[in-house]
């Protein structure tokens, strides 16, 4: 575990709920991310799964510096990104880049593909000398499987999958070590998803990248991840290797989540023991006391309301699980 490229400690982001326009008063806070510790090793893919509103997108924004955390540390190569300012911050940002979800809105429609992929070089002029930039942009397009001669085209002349490749080329321009992928394939069609997933995997092997792969599609996350963290209401409730999480989950939420995913095999119909959760996710502005999942949990006892379970290895859970009653449940036999 020596080769940690990214580590967060006690990462918290609360969005204040305010009233008034000129004279604002704080009336509460949405606890989007509420104490997240995670580690990413070199060359590894860490999957982050959870349902909408669990804070996974906010986590992505915090990691790449689009939002400032309320508290906590984000260490990239030993430097705390949260404390850095000005030039140092700009330099440090090169190491961590992001691929955004929607390929239709993440590219400026008024810029050519060459300008979009070359923009990182303009912002960080010391990376590539001016004379070599056209070549660098064409190389990037080539790497992501686009025709390098298309630098003068505009985004709307490309399909969704091709646009996502442009977004990946832009993220690669500064030669980052870490790429945060926020739902990179969820806006794409099934047949195109596989192309982009394969590209991401190929680039990882080729360039030694580390990925944080955020998605709501558990099948995609399983396919690409080495380790997986499951989020619920701003907290990680379970973390571990992909086999541990997918085949022997110990947190009730993970179990429910996995059991709800339809499997593309009609022979399994009716044979899976599906756990259907009742009700909706509570509001992150007013989360339940103790364990946040207790309001929908079939195992909940008094202790769950009083004491918040820590994310730790437990008697019946070989990997960290934030449940007082963590116990492995066999989900899918490895195929």
């Amino acid at each position: 575990m020596s080769d940690v490229v990214l580590e967060t400690k006690g990462l918290v982001k609360h969005f204040p709920i305010t009233r008034g326009i000129v004279f604002q008063s704080k009336v509460g806070a949405v606890r989007a991310v509420d104490g997240v510790d995670l580690q990413l090793n070199r060359g590894e893919t860490l999957g982050v799964v959870g349902e909408s509103g669990c804070g996974k997108s906010t986590l992505a924004k915090l990691l790449v510096g689009l939002e400032k955390p309320t508290s906590g540390e984000i260490n990239v190569r030993g430097e705390d990104m949260v404390r850095l300012k000005g030039r140092d911050l700009r330099r440090a940002r090169r190491h961590i880049q992001m691929v955004l979800q929607d390929p239709y809105t993440s590219l400026n429609p008024r810029m050519t593909v060459g300008d979009i992929v070359g923009e990182p070089f303009e912002i960080h002029p010391d990376v590539t000398p001016r004379s070599g930039r056209t070549k660098a942009v064409q190389d990037l397009l080539d790497i992501v499987g686009l025709n390098p001669d298309h630098v003068n085209r505009y985004p709307h002349q490309f399909s969704g999958g091709q646009r996502q490749r442009i977004g990946i080329a832009r993220a690669l321009a500064l030669k980052p070590e870490i790429i945060v992928c926020d739902e990179p394939v969820s806006a794409l069609d099934v047949s195109i998803q596989a192309q982009v997933i394969n590209l991401l995997e190929g680039l990882q092997d080729e360039l030694g990248l580390s990925y944080i792969f955020i998605a709501h599609d558990l099948s995609v996350v399983r396919h690409i991840s080495d380790r997986v963290a499951v989020m619920y209401l701003g907290k990680i409730v379970e973390a571990g290797g992909d086999v541990a999480i997918y085949e022997q989950p110990t947190h009730p939420y993970t179990q429910a989540l996995l059991s709800a995913v339809p499997v593309p095999d009609p022979r399994l119909r009716g044979q899976r023991d599906q756990i259907v959760l009742e009700g909706d996710v509570p509001s992150p502005a007013n989360p339940p006391s103790g364990c946040r999942f207790r309001t929908r949990c079939w195992k909940a006892q008094d202790i769950c309301a009083q004491e918040e379970p820590k994310l730790e290895i437990r008697d019946r859970s070989g990997h960290p699980s934030a449940c007082h009653f963590a116990e492995a449940r066999e989900m899918f036999a490895s195929g």
Partner: protein, 312 residues
């Protein structure tokens, strides 16, 4: 590496294949503006409006191309007499050539319209961009200020302002009218700019640029402004038409252009009392005014339709 090559190979056929969903025939790089132009070219209303605007602007710059008569050569003996020779529209109360005066009147109208619109545009751009980009209290203060200006009764404020600005009797009032219209007319443009800046600011590509470490200047000039300016320009085109009409209104009321200035507004105002005796000196400047205003507004409408992303 094999994966990457495989991926490259997969996509290569598409590069040659027609682009999906978009005009399959043309394969040249085209910007949104080029797309809009392709659209405009097929729009008849656009062509009608454009031809009219070109004629009107030419008339404003080179009135002598359209008439050889001197609009200031008036002889009372010809008062209200019918069309003769080059004076197609006859003569007015002062015995001036109505046709010549109508042609020469275009200059004042277009000059006031264009300059007042430019002034409004500059003010509106600054207010709209700052309010939209900075948000929070800047937006709150600027937006309230816009509301206040919008709440001022236009005609009342224009009368006060124009009177104040043109006390010098030597002055023919052009600057005063431009400033008056410019200072009172920018609010709708500023509001449009503000809302489209806010829309553009929240786009993912702006987040992507911020993530790369782009500063506020780059974000504004490269990403936000180019994506929010289209509707602003359209509003200005329409405002141009409105300003031309307003100039005529002010001149008609006697607080706009004066002295020896020639303008449609003055002509309409002067011909008003004699409309029963001689309607033509009133009708022709009115027709030119209406057509000019309509041409600019139609042009603005056509451009808006072409740029409207909802139709793309």
């Amino acid at each position: 590496m094999s994966d990457i090559q495989a991926a490259t190979a997969e996509e290569q056929p598409d590069a040659a294949a027609p682009e999906p969903r978009h005009n399959a025939k043309r394969d040249k790089p085209r910007s949104l503006a080029a797309d809009a132009w392709a659209d405009l070219r097929r729009n008849k209303i656009f062509w009608v409006a454009a031809v009219l605007v070109v004629i009107i602007v030419t008339m404003a710059i080179f009135p002598s191309l359209f008439t050889s008569a001197n609009p200031r050569a008036c002889t009372l003996s010809r008062q209200h007499s019918g069309p003769t020779g080059s004076a197609f529209f006859g003569y007015d109360f002062q015995g001036c050539d109505v046709y010549a005066r109508t042609i020469y009147g275009a200059r004042a109208s277009v000059e006031v319209g264009v300059l007042a619109t430019l002034l409004s545009g500059v003010i509106g751009l600054i207010f709209g961009l700052s309010a939209g980009y900075f948000g929070r209290w800047v937006d709150a203060v600027l937006s309230r200020f816009i509301d206040i200006v919008l709440g001022v009764p236009f005609l009342l404020a224009a009368i006060v302002l124009a009177k104040r600005l043109s006390q010098d009797p030597q002055n023919n009032g052009v600057v005063a009218v431009i400033v008056t219209l410019g200072v009172l007319g920018w609010t709708s443009a500023a509001r449009i700019m503000r809302s489209s800046v806010i829309a553009a600011k929240n786009q993912d590509y702006v987040a992507a640029a911020r993530m790369l470490g782009a500063g506020p200047a780059r974000l504004m000039m490269r990403h936000i402004l180019p994506n929010s300016i289209a509707s602003f320009i359209v509003v200005l085109t329409i405002l141009l038409g409105i300003n031309i009409a307003s100039e005529a209104t002010l001149s008609f009321l006697g607080i706009g252009l004066k002295g020896d200035a020639i303008s449609w507004g003055i002509a309409i105002s002067e011909a008003g009392p004699y409309v029963r005796v001689a309607p033509t000196p009133l009708i022709w400047p009115s027709v030119f005014l209406a057509v000019t205003v309509l041409a600019f507004i139609m042009l603005g409408d056509a451009v808006r339709d072409a740029f409207d992303p909802k139709l793309r």
